[in-house]
């Protein structure tokens, strides 16, 4: 395999892993509530910005990461309690607007609480590039890939082996039946938002050493994560991961072999073609429609 192709693949996988984490956040919330949370990108931003602020104030890196993920989780829970629950039963478009309003609000708050500057985060284990068959990889990229794999494994265990996780799966399959079985849907909703926020913040902290963080990084990352979730089939965890990796690879290969100016266009064209020929996404289930 040529060194150049290998470089493209490594680049695509690294970015794709971040998209995968963001996409997982979309998938989890969608499963529990049928809501597309357009504020998902802001959780990524909060993770990175809070960690940068904690580090600037003197805390060591591991503690900063922990605190920032916790902060994002709290924000996610607040969002669910204050904005999504009161609007339950509203048309889906209304809920979308609410989450969009939330993303604007969070961005505005971030600019006030922190600032509008770009912030770096220290790499978790140094910056010396690792040579891999003619191409190079940053140690941070290994952290990104490794953490994403570990997260996917942990989520699989959570959804299939714990009661809360199984309750969430039940709600996503059939809300009414789950309620009849005594599952508290509002608790499931809260957990889903908290979990998605934590995942988003984790992604933010992982990527910030590579591509920095600022008050407005959430917009693009949220959009790409959403696209990845759709590509994989909304509502499917494995689909979100597959979609994220696929999107990252398409971008990197498109930039490398076709035209770097149009790489985003290629990614979206592929996405559109995939949607038209695979209307339920790469992995999505064929939803049965009640007439």
């Amino acid at each position: 395999m040529s060194a150049q192709l290998l470089q493209f693949l490594l680049s695509g996988l690294t970015v794709g892993a971040i998209y995968a984490l963001v996409a997982l956040g979309f998938a989890i919330i969608y499963n529990a509530s049928n809501v597309i949370n357009f504020a998902q990108g802001e959780f990524v931003m909060i993770g990175g910005m809070a960690a940068a602020a904690f580090i600037d104030s003197g805390l060591p890196l591991p503690l900063s990461v922990l605190f920032s993920v916790t902060l994002a989780t709290l924000v996610g829970l607040l969002l669910e309690k204050l904005a999504v629950e009161p609007a339950r039963g509203a048309p889906v478009v209304t809920l979308i607007i609410i989450t969009i309003g939330a993303s604007i609000l969070l961005r505005g708050l971030a600019a006030l609480v922190w600032d509008k500057k770009i912030h770096p985060l220290p790499a978790f284990s140094g910056e010396a590039p690792i040579a891999v068959g003619g191409a190079t990889l940053l140690p941070q990229a290994l952290w990104v890939l490794g953490t994403t794999l570990a997260t996917v494994a942990a989520l699989w265990w959570f959804f299939n082996r714990t009661l809360t996780g199984k309750a969430m799966l039940a709600v996503s399959h059939n809300r009414l039946a789950a309620q009849l079985m005594g599952i508290s849907v509002s608790r499931v909703l809260a957990v889903s938002f908290g979990l998605s926020a934590a995942l988003g913040a984790l992604a933010g902290v992982l990527i910030a050493p590579i591509s920095f963080t600022a008050w407005d990084v959430g917009v693009m990352l949220g959009l790409k994560g959403f696209a990845a979730a759709m590509l994989g089939g909304i509502g499917s965890g494995p689909g979100a991961v597959a979609g994220g990796l696929a999107l990252g690879l398409i971008e990197a290969l498109g930039a490398g072999y076709l035209s770097s100016a149009y790489k985003d266009v290629f990614a979206f064209i592929v996405l559109l073609a995939a949607l038209v020929f695979l209307p339920n996404g790469l992995v999505g289930r064929r939803a049965a429609e009640r007439v």
Partner: protein
């Protein structure tokens, strides 16, 4: 509401709008306020069309700013780079965008719900990236100048936009009460059931999509000639979201609601400008609060409140 009462309610609404539009200039003290009124009118034209698609035909589009941008750039490029008179470049641009919407709509409208949202979002992004990248034709992200229409000046433009808006509202209201409008509402309710009674879902969805795209392109082309300058941000994802927000805020399935939504959300940032650093926070909070407390939008909520008040026992 009985079938006889419905047309007269929308006719009353139309007359009220016409009255407001005719009398508004008396309250506008300077060119800046005229500018706001004109931008409101242009946004309202897009929203009325978008409302037909979202509120009546029950589809979603998160990429409608793409059609607006294409309409604007179409007329701008034909007039500025190829020397066409605006009287020709404007309608040609609108028709071209309608044709494009027809081509693109057929495969894309087979998707449903969030997948359709994603597809329209993707289309919008493709349009805005292409407009920003082909800088030799479009001037790139810094935009390009647009030759003016044969009329200039805020006051003339006010009447052009007002007239167009009234015509569009009249058209929309008549469409809604026609067999096609009823077919759209049937689609919105239950597509498969509608198919069972002989409604060709694909054709009707496409018609709503093309019409709303043409209206967006018309508004875009007009705004290009009015401002004398356009940038690719007119086709951006954020602008698409703004448009959908206006429709939902005003009230879906309500043509006048779409106009009201456009009016409120266009003037709001100008009013919020005094908040300076807190502008984004104020805007986001306002969007959330109004959608939480008025989930169906402004006009339906007001209508419900009026109905309840009317029905209160004396």
């Amino acid at each position: 509401m009985s079938a006889a009462a419905q047309p007269s309610a929308s006719r009353r609404g139309f007359l009220a709008l016409a009255l407001i539009v005719a009398l508004l200039p008396l309250a506008l003290p300077n060119n800046y306020t005229y500018e706001i009124a004109i931008v409101v009118g242009l946004n309202a034209i897009v929203c009325v069309g978008l409302n037909l698609l979202i509120g009546y035909a029950g589809q979603i589009s998160l990429g409608h700013a793409g059609f607006f941008g294409l309409g604007a750039y179409g007329t701008a490029i034909l007039a500025a780079r190829y020397g066409w008179p605006p009287a020709l470049s404007l309608p040609v641009s609108v028709l071209a965008v309608a044709a494009l919407a027809w081509l693109v709509g057929r495969p894309v409208l087979r998707l449903k719900g969030h997948y359709l949202a994603m597809a329209t979002l993707g289309l919008g992004i493709i349009v805005s990236v292409v407009l920003a990248t082909e800088d030799r034709i479009t001037g790139g992200p810094d935009g390009m100048a647009v030759p003016p229409l044969w009329v200039t000046g805020e006051k003339s433009w006010y009447w052009i936009v007002a007239g167009t808006l009234l015509a569009v509202v009249w058209l929309a209201q008549n469409l809604i009460d026609s067999p096609r409008g009823r077919a759209w509402r049937a689609l919105h309710g239950a597509e498969i059931a509608a198919g069972a009674v002989g409604i060709d879902a694909a054709r009707h969805k496409l018609a709503a999509f093309v019409l709303s795209a043409a209206l967006a392109a018309l508004a875009g082309a007009l705004s290009a000639h009015y401002a004398g300058f356009i940038t690719p941000s007119r086709a951006s994802f954020l602008h698409s979201i703004e448009l959908v927000t206006m429709v939902v805020f005003g009230g879906m399935a309500s043509t006048l609601g779409a106009v009201l939504g456009a009016a409120v959300l266009t003037t709001l940032p100008q009013l919020l400008a005094v908040f300076k650093d807190y502008e984004l926070v104020a805007l986001g909070a306002l969007m959330m609060l109004t959608m939480i407390f008025m989930p169906r939008g402004l006009v339906p909520t007001l209508e419900k409140a009026l109905d309840a008040a009317r029905r209160k026992p004396r």
